[in-house]
């Protein structure tokens, strides 16, 4: 964290506040750090990486000056490896598994990965080639990490791939949902471009059901990958939720991904409801938009918070305040329908529920009111249930049921990966996990349609 060189917030040019905060390693830093790697055999960092990046290999390649080889090792295993180097919870994954935790300090694997992929971005290297046309076509619904990853591998396996993407650009969460100062949009767009360079067609601004029907897609392609991810933040179910000044955290973060930055948060009081990673993003974005008072409200305690530890630490450093055991009950507005305050109630934790977390319940007569100018809701994301049903797929409250080995849905022609299958024990919602699922889905489609080995030649 002390590597963040500029923690000040500019009120004159808000876009400066959204520059990537952690600087790239200097070549000397990268060299020193990469030479510290022991080049373990059967290295636990590889096992800890959901995409099995051969970490010792890419690190030793940095040390030898083989930067292209290094970037290739990373991107080979993880088509969104540049984004993942910024958003992965490395202390829980690769760096947490580093054997040097027991001897000195773990290798800065995430930063080295960022350094190697930055090199590839700066040098505009095309790292992979499309495979020889195998005559089969695949449609991918959703151009986020899972969809891109599947597309990249399918293209290398010789499939003709079309991605249908509702937004202006592909990249999904990486392009729109992660704060710029952690993941600049150009990084995600480079990954998109890498996929396009393999001949993958990306039809942007194209929504299934609006611009093209499910039927059309089903008839036109040999296989379909449903990788639509998640939808909007669900309703809180409290009064005046649609008031002026109430935001959906996903939409809110998205507005900060491209200049110009909104200026209406300068000096304002903001309350964020929730304590996950998106809630933290909304809070830190508010700070960087110039808000003077940013508070996160969570109905449980710090122990139950779902945000990563490093995100929580970062938010604290950004002077975000936390109100634990606090549940909003009512949004108060002025005569023009503009948010003025939030009524809350204190909570206490009772017995553990099915998820193992202690269930919060309101403390009687503990209502209180806080003055706010904006409320940002970050209590999770709803699912694209309608689309899933249009495809006629078996699902469990929006979580598509798949064969865990093949990623095949109840419709043998449709495979599914990413956030749309996360939940209910089907993996943890992380970009890196989505990338891995996309890859595996591609191999599974290859097996299904071509039927030979599932290896890809570099």
């Amino acid at each position: 964290m002390n590597r963040f060189r500029d923690k000040t917030t500019s009120l004159k040019d808000l876009s400066l506040n959204f520059n990537e905060i952690e600087p790239d390693l200097s070549p000397k830093e990268a060299m020193d750090e990469s030479n510290r790697c022991l080049y373990c055999y059967d290295a636990p960092c590889i096992t800890a990486c959901p995409t099995d990046i051969n970490i010792p290999s890419f690190i030793k390649k940095i040390a030898s000056g083989n930067m292209k080889g290094s970037a290739k090792v990373i991107m080979e295993a993880n088509p969104v490896g540049a984004s993942c180097s910024r958003v992965c919870p490395t202390e829980d994954l690769c760096e947490g598994a580093c054997v040097l935790n027991d001897a000195s300090l773990p290798i800065m694997i995430g930063n080295l990965q960022r350094h190697a992929t930055n090199w590839a971005i700066k040098n505009n290297e095309q790292l992979f080639e499309a495979g020889e046309d195998n005559g089969k076509t695949v449609a991918i619904v959703g151009g986020g990490p899972a969809g891109l990853s599947a597309a990249r591998e399918l293209a290398r396996l010789g499939f003709k791939v079309t991605i249908f993407e509702a937004k202006e650009h592909a990249g999904g969460l990486d392009t729109y949902g992660i704060v710029s100062f952690r993941l600049p949009q150009e990084v995600s767009l480079w990954e998109v471009e890498q996929v396009e360079k393999l001949g993958v067609e990306i039809r942007t601004n194209t929504m299934i059901g609006r611009d093209i029907s499910v039927n059309e897609i089903e008839n036109a392609y040999d296989a379909i990958v449903l990788a639509v991810g998640l939808s909007k933040v669900p309703m809180l179910g409290i009064e005046d939720e649609d008031a002026n000044g109430v935001y959906d955290a996903i939409n809110f973060v998205e507005t900060t991904k491209t200049p110009p930055m909104r200026e209406d948060f300068i000096g304002k009081k903001v309350a964020i409801i929730g304590a996950g990673n998106t809630a933290i993003d909304a809070a830190t974005c508010s700070v960087r938009l110039g808000a003077s008072d940013v508070k996160m409200l969570y109905r449980r305690t710090q122990a139950e918070m779902t945000a990563y530890e490093f995100e929580y630490e970062f938010a604290k450093q950004e002077s975000v305040a936390f109100s634990w055991l606090t549940q909003p009950t009512k949004i108060l507005t002025d005569s023009e329908g503009k948010v003025t305050a939030l009524e809350c109630i204190r909570m206490e934790l009772g017995e553990a529920d099915v998820s193992g977390r202690r269930r919060p319940s309101p403390i009687k007569d503990s209502e209180f009111t806080i003055e706010v100018d904006a409320v940002i809701k970050a209590i999770g994301q709803s699912r694209f249930v309608d689309l899933i049903e249009e495809f006629d797929l078996s699902h469990d409250r929006g979580v598509v049921n798949i064969d865990s080995d093949t990623h095949q849905t109840s419709n043998p022609k449709v495979f599914s990966a990413g956030d749309v299958v996360f939940g209910n024990g089907q993996g943890e919602a992380m970009v890196v996990e989505a990338a891995e699922q996309g890859k595996l889905t591609a191999y599974s489609i290859y097996k299904e349609l071509i039927g030979e080995s599932e290896t890809v030649n570099a």
């Binding site: 373990c40 059967d42 290295a43 040390a63 054997v99």
Partner: protein, 426 residues
Amino acid sequence: MADLSINFAGIKSPNPFWLASAPPTNSGYQVQRAFEAGWGGAVWKTLGEPILNISSRFAGTHFNGQRVAGFNNTELITDRPLEVNLKEIYETKKRFPNNPIIASLMVEPEQEKWHEIVKRVEAVGVDGFELNFGCPHGMAERGMGAASGQVPELVEKQTMWAKEAAESPVIVKLTPNITDITATAYAAVQGGADAISMINTINSLAGVDLDTWNTIPHVAGKGAHGGYCGPAVKPIALNMVAECARNSTINVPISGIGGISDWRDAVEFMLMGAGGLQVCTAAMHHGFSIVEDMVEGLNNYLDDKGLASVGDLVGKSVPKYSDWGDLDLNYKSVARINTDTCINCNKCHIACEDTAHQCIDMLKAKDGTKYLQVNEDDCVGCNLCSIVCPVDGAIDMIEIPSDEPMTWKEREAAIKEPSCGISLVK
């Protein structure tokens, strides 16, 4: 506080750390700075002719981020006039009467030239001479330096000529660019040398530039071999010191040179027979102040060992250095992994598996934790695992009971047949 002073072949020094004849001892300014920093003595950069040098001259060899693992130079002897050097030696000696200054000399192999330079230099009050029979580049092409040093007869003859004129002790500095250093060491002794010093630099080419394809270093696009020194050459130097020290016909003190970078290296050289030490690359890499730790570290070491004087170290390991034929064929050691300290990088496993004797197994305990274990029956005690292990104390080499000692020489004698006639199979 142990006594660090030495009397090396009659040359007294407050501690055994001398700067070797090289760029650090090029001038009075530098040598005086060195003495202020705590160096015991200095071998003044070689006096002689011609007075010329080239640009550039040095190259470092770096390894895995470690700078100057080795060092290469194509610099010649002093490029300052003799009169200037003599004046500065005189002034330095006056300021630091207790710190020995040894003049390194190099002239053509002619008796009168040696007589002349020895007399002129002795007149300014040096404490001794070091004849440079080692410099491998430039001067060698003119029949000096290593060109002389590679011919035992020339070493003997020139030593004799120097001794004919010198009142103070004469040290002969030997080149490592030779098959058997004891041959030239013996020649120096026959010539009357009071001491020998080793090693000078080893013929080397530091590298080639991947972009320009020039040698490193290059002079206007062309390169020539230089002399190699620094930490990388220490094992070679230590072996040469040891070979001379254990040879009873070479009965003069040895000044150890070659990659000495800290007090630990110093102790090793002294244990292996060096009565004094010379340092260059470490000072060039870090400056004169490193001597402070060298002196203090050596002092603490002697105190810990209960030794009153640094001289008590000299040669203590020489009897332990021998020939392969004197090693016990029945001695056995095996590797043992300390699972508490092991960090499971598995480097030992793969080193043994790929390149040694396939005797380190990767196992899983009942609770799922991974651990490594040496199959001691198959282990030949080669040490590879403990060498690649990054954690001190994670792999111990354990001595295990074995049969009566039997060396190759004893085995040969027992069989009573010439060695060429017997099979090596047990």
